[in-house]
Each structure stands twice: as C-alpha cells, then as structure tokens.
C-alpha cells in the first residue's frame, strides 16, 4: 500500500520517536508512507465557529499538496492533526459551496477537488493490514507487558470523525492483543489530559496527569500507550511537575503505539527511540524480559 504521509509539527520535534517508529513499523507491514515534499501546520485545533472558512485554509492547503503529488490518500499519526484535517475534509466534501469559496480565495493554488481521503495510521492497521496479519509478523511478542491504552479526545470525538466508538473504543486494545501485550482497561482512557492548558495553567494539567496516570497504575499497568504528542507531553513530562506537587505520586512510562508495535515487529532501538521519553520505559521492558538487560540502546545499556 502506497500513500502520502503528513507528519505535523511535533513529530519533527519532541515527538520524533513517534515518527521514526511509525515509518519503520509501517514499512515492515508493507505500507509505503511518502512524506509530502511540502506541508504546513494543520492549525492543531479545529475552529468551532460556524462559517469560519478562514480556519480551514491550513488543512486545505495540505490536501492540495497531497493532490499535487498524485495521491488520493494521506495518513497522519498525530491525533490533533487527524481531527483538524478530517473535519475539514468532511466539510468541503459535504458542502461544494464552501469548497468553491476556499478555492477562489486560494487562487494561487491549483483547485482542490475534494477527493483526498485522510486516514489515521491506526485505521490502516485495523482496516488495510488487519490484526491477524500483524500477529503473523510479530517477532518479539510483548508477553507479560501490561499496557493501558489512552485515547484522549481527538481520536474518537466528535462522532462524525472518530476512528472508533467514542465511549467504548477498542482499536488500540486490539492492536495490543495482536502484539501479545496484556491490555489494561482504564476508565479514564478517554478523559481529556488538559491539552493546551499546559501552556498557561500547568496546575490543571498536573491534576489530570495525576488522576489519569494513577488510575492506570492502580490497575496494574506497566505503561500507558497513546497517539497524541500533546497528551504525551502532558502525561509524560508533566509527571515531573506532578511529582513536585503531589509527593505521593508515582508515575509510569508513556509511549506511542508505534513504538510498541515496532518493538514487537523486531525493529531496532534506533527506530523505537524509547530514550526520548521523560519517564524511561527501558527498566520495565527489561523487567518483563522484552528487552535483554545490557542490550545496546543508543549507546547506553538498558
């Protein structure tokens, strides 16, 4: 399968390991993701005002780029990019009048024909590759590793664009079962992490981080698995601030779904990049005999 890849800003910065692990895992599963030569910010948050066409320009421009490169499918990894772009995709598909207005405004670009389809990588694994196939390709089963999937907001809400049920999603649970990890079902898996409040109201986020991480830990999770670089920042690095505020707080590692998948597919540490997280996932991976003690990881011994 061959399709365009839209990375988004944070995958080139703090979320680098998300990208490296995703590209390698996808390739191992015969998905060829070709990064767009040119792309711009998706806008991160979808404008909720009615008739706010101006704020659809950023995603639209990315769809034009996909079209220019001859693709009709594009995949993204970041939950926020997925949400913003999927909602725009639908609006201009459902409303030719809006599509026409935006095309006329962006007169220097070629007209967007409204035909590009956006996927989240998790959807490709479920619908195009299939969990049975993934299961067959597993080289290093994550047996014994207890993982709590965390969906946050943007993968499953609102209903019209969610990749799974908004109250009872299972897309990440099923992926974990395919790679032989143990699923820890946490009732807070769809609860907001505080999102962008992390910029101006850190204490709101540490309160959530404490609640969400402690809940997963209480249920026996060794780590939390997610798909959003903003959730990752809040649930991982903000554990540092949470521990300062709540002295009884004990954290667990937070990783991207692509990192665990890449690991299970037998890919090496240079693409998994567990070293980029604030809470080090290596000790628990060693403890569960998934990575051997002393195995070389980025020049340091696990």
């Amino acid at each position: 399968m061959n399709l365009a890849y839209y990375p988004g800003c944070t995958l080139k910065n703090q979320g680098l390991g998300f990208e490296t692990s995703a590209l390698a895992a996808a390739q191992a599963l015969d998905i060829e993701m070709k990064e767009l030569d040119r792309w711009n910010c998706c806008g991160t948050v979808f404008s909720l005002a009615d008739e706010d066409l101006m704020h659809y320009l950023a995603p639209m421009r990315n769809f034009v780029r996909v079209q220019e490169e001859g693709f009709d499918k594009v995949v993204t990894l970041c939950s926020m990019c997925y949400n913003t772009m999927k909602r725009t995709e639908q609006i201009v598909k459902d409303d030719p009048e809006k599509l026409k207005t935006i095309n006329e405004f962006m007169y220097r670009e070629e007209d967007y024909r409204g035909e590009v389809k956006l996927f989240h990588l998790l959807e490709l694994f479920r619908d195009e590759i299939g969990y049975e196939e993934i299961k067959k390709r597993v080289i290093r089963p994550l047996r014994g590793l207890k993982v709590a999937p965390y969906y946050g907001c943007m993968l499953t809400r609102p209903k019209e664009i969610g990749i799974d049920d908004w109250e009872e999603p299972r897309i990440m649970e099923d992926l974990l079962s395919a790679i032989d990890a143990e699923v820890v079902k946490d009732p807070l898996r769809g609860e907001c992490c505080g999102a962008y409040h992390t910029v101006n109201a850190k204490e709101l986020v540490t309160e959530r981080t404490r609640m969400i991480v402690s809940s997963a830990k209480k249920r026996g999770a060794d780590c939390i698995m997610l798909s959003c670089p903003l959730c990752e920042f809040n649930l991982d690095l903000r554990q540092r601030d949470t521990a300062k505020e709540y002295t009884d707080f004990v954290g667990i590692p937070v990783v991207y779904f692509t990192q665990l998948l890449a690991l299970a597919l037998g890919l090496t540490e240079d693409v998994c990049r567990f070293d980029l997280h604030y809470i080090d996932p290596y000790p628990v991976l060693v403890e569960k005999n998934i990575i051997e003690e002393g195995e070389e990881v980025h020049g340091k011994k696990a």
């Binding site: 979320g15 910010c41 948050v45 609102p158 109250e167 709101l204």
Partner: protein
C-alpha cells in the same frame, strides 16, 4: 462568579450572537445536566457548563467573565453525550470569540519564560494561542 438569573435581565442580543457564531440552537437544551456531569474540567469551573447555556438563554452577559468558558478545552465529551444534540463545545467557543474578536487576549504570551518556550512542544503553543489569543 455569581449568576443572578431573572427574566428582567433577558438580553436576546447575546443569545442571537451566540447562536449565530456557534450555529447551535440553545433552546433545545432542557438542562438535564449531562454535560456538567461528564465535564473533566468541572472542579475548577466557577459555574457549571449547563449554567453557561442558561445564562446565554437569559442573556446574562456576566457569563463572558466566567472562568468556565476558558477552562473548556474542547474535548467534545459533552457534545457526544448530549441527549438533545446540542454541541456545547461550539457554544463555549462562541463565547470565547465574543472576547477574542474584540482583539483582547485571554493570556499574556510575553509572560512565557524562555525555559517554558524551549520545553513546550509546538502542538501545545499553537493550540493554546489559537484558543486564547485574538
């Protein structure tokens, strides 16, 4: 924030503006409180999410001063659960925009330290500025 609700404060101009910006019909809400019950930001709010709707229904402009509208992080939990199909996240956005569209920021970007700017991922900064600045 204390809300004094009375029929004498009814201001249909606010209601009309919010309905225009949000595209939502506020009179569909019958105040079952489901949005408030599921709101993850509730503990820090100064009035309940459904009270925000009530205030707008009655035209009480004090709702524009509430912390609640800024604490809403657009997580859409209320939107997927509302039995009346009201998308409260759009109403919250409309109320924020009534301030932001007057060129008034809710946060002071200059107060962010270099250390914070170095640490925060672009996804956090861009989304925050889109929601909190004009």
């Amino acid at each position: 924030m204390k809300l004094r609700l009375s029929v004498t404060t009814t201001n249909s101009a606010l209601l009309a503006k919010v309905e225009e910006i949000s595209g939502e019909n506020l009179s569909k809400c019958y105040h079952c409180g489901k949005c408030s019950a599921g709101c993850p930001s509730l503990t820090n709010m100064d009035c309940l999410p459904n009270q925000v709707i009530r205030a707008v229904q009655l035209g009480d402009e004090k709702v524009l001063e509430s912390e609640t509208i800024w604490l809403c992080a657009s997580c859409f939990t209320c939107a997927v659960r509302c039995p009346r199909g009201v998308d409260l996240s759009k109403i919250m956005e409309a109320l924020r925009l009534l301030t932001l569209r007057k060129d008034v920021n809710h946060i002071e970007v200059k107060e962010l330290t270099q250390e914070e700017l170095d640490e925060l991922p672009p996804i956090a900064l861009v989304s925050n500025f889109r929601k909190m600045t004009s």
